[in-house]
Amino acid sequence: MADTLLKAKAIIKEFGAPVPTRVLHGIDLSIECGEFCALIGNSGSGKSTLLNIIGALDRPSGGQVFIEGIDLAGLTDDELAFFRNQTMGFIFQFHFLLPQFTVLENVLIPHLIYRGKADKSARDRAMYLLEQVGLLHRRDYKANSISGGEQQRAAIARALMNQPRLILADEPTGNLDSKNSAHIFNLMRKINQENQTTFLIVTHDRNMAFSADRIIELKDGLIVRDECVCGQDPNQMLAVIEPLY
């Protein structure tokens, strides 16, 4: 049995004052090392909010998040920043590469933030990752001079730089055409399988959801479905989920 990477207990999140709106109504969730999970749900269901809390970008109003046994509530903001840097990788709908830096430098940034300088092993890793995402030939291009699909692939390489245990992706292909989407998805799947990196992906893309190991569905701030899809017939699953969308 694999180790538990992430454990969320009774997560509550409220926004706004003085009359708070409750977005998450007590989420319990546990993710094992190496799992490839899709987080789905209507817009407004709270899936991005949950992803941000799990990703230590936001603090819950109630409940606890443990990652590798560490209670995130016990960390200061600076400690959380370092924790994110070391433990997690983020892939967003928008790549947010820094246009002032080259593709290679962008991939190195998670390393540079705390190290200042890239030594040979860091450069080797960045080059290896660029090769993995098929961008080695673009490494010295400025980040804003490559195509959208390439930028998203560079963002994936960046997310992998510090060898994170958990990759959080918020609609990683939301901005891409189907060909590029498939490319990105396959890339993430490959990384998952080769390195046992855990993925939690927020997506609207049904095909992507059904290609995951596990689908977690959120509705009105509660988990309404959490099942393993591996080995099941996607068409059958599609029929189950379809009415919701």
Binding site: R84, F90, F92, F94, F96, L98, I109, K117, D170
Partner: protein, 407 residues
Amino acid sequence: MISSIRFELELALRFLTENRGQTTLILLGITIGVAVMVFLSALIDGLQADLIDKTVGSSPHIIVTRQAQEPLQLPEGSSHTGLFPLQLQRSGNRPIVEWQALTTAMRHDSQLSAVLPVLDGAAIIRRGSVSKSVALRGMALAEADPIYHISDSIIAGSPKMEPGSLLIGSELASELDLRPGDTVMLEIIGQDPISQLVGGIFDLGVQNLNKRWVIIDRTRAASLLGMQDRVTEIEMQVNDIFSASDLAQRWAERLPGYEVVSWQESNASLLSALKSQSNSSYTIQFFVLLAVTLGVSSVLAISAVQKSKQIGILKAIGIRTASVERVFMLQGGILGTVGSIGGTILGTAMAQIFIFMASSDQQFALLLKPATVAIIVALTLLSAILAAYLPARQVARTNPVEVIRNG
């Protein structure tokens, strides 16, 4: 910490070079601002140094007398602008008997550059039917030269004061039509007139001195005035001209019963005029600095808004809030440094051009004090970094969640 600053510096530089137009404009602004401050300082400092040198450069900075408690009296006909050397402002003094002990002590004071015991007396110079009232000043040439530069001011004859000869001023010489080698009659009140030779004619650059002073050797003055071995005052110059009033204060405490007056006390209105001039220059410089600060602040505030998405992602990736703050403070610091260097060069160049263009009538030289430049540079740097502080705080608080949500 050190290593993260390396990345922060890199980021600051990339941010600045990305917005080339913006960066160039604000650098130009800082450069011009600093240049104006440097030039203005050089101008005002030069003007004031020149004015002070003209006023007290060749006159005593401190005068010690034994005086009855009377207020200082300005010479007749003088205006009240205060632009008068100290030596014109004396009235009858009581003799100082222990002057040798005093001057020995004063010569041991390393802050004093010259000590000159003087025996003063009133006399009348007569040639034919024309007579002039003069101030007879008994002093040793070697002691007087450091203050009055008499030897260098001789325009005719010789500075040597041999027995039977005296030095007179150029005004007096022309009034009495005297040349070196001529004979005059010297009358001291209550004594018989004696015949004296004009040994040399001096021009001290001050009309009143050239008209009134007759200089003879101190020991001869003592015998002529019947004063034995006494002097009436001790004149001093100091190394740091602005320390004169403090030094005078100190000597006044050491010498009860003596009156010790510094040039500052007798030139109060000149000093107050210089102070007002400095203050107006500081006011201008303050507002230039303020404009520079506001410029830096607004440019960085705009940059902060433009970069908010990148900052958001950097924070998601794990950059600390304080790091982001430093990235913007560093931008302020870089702008301040480059602008100050440019401004100092431009300001100095402006000063040099000014000197070159004004050299025809040599009114005064600009004075570029390294300390002043250092203060301007330091203040500009500090202002630029402080100017960056608000945008830095604002952008450092960017919530990555907001950025990610809104794209």
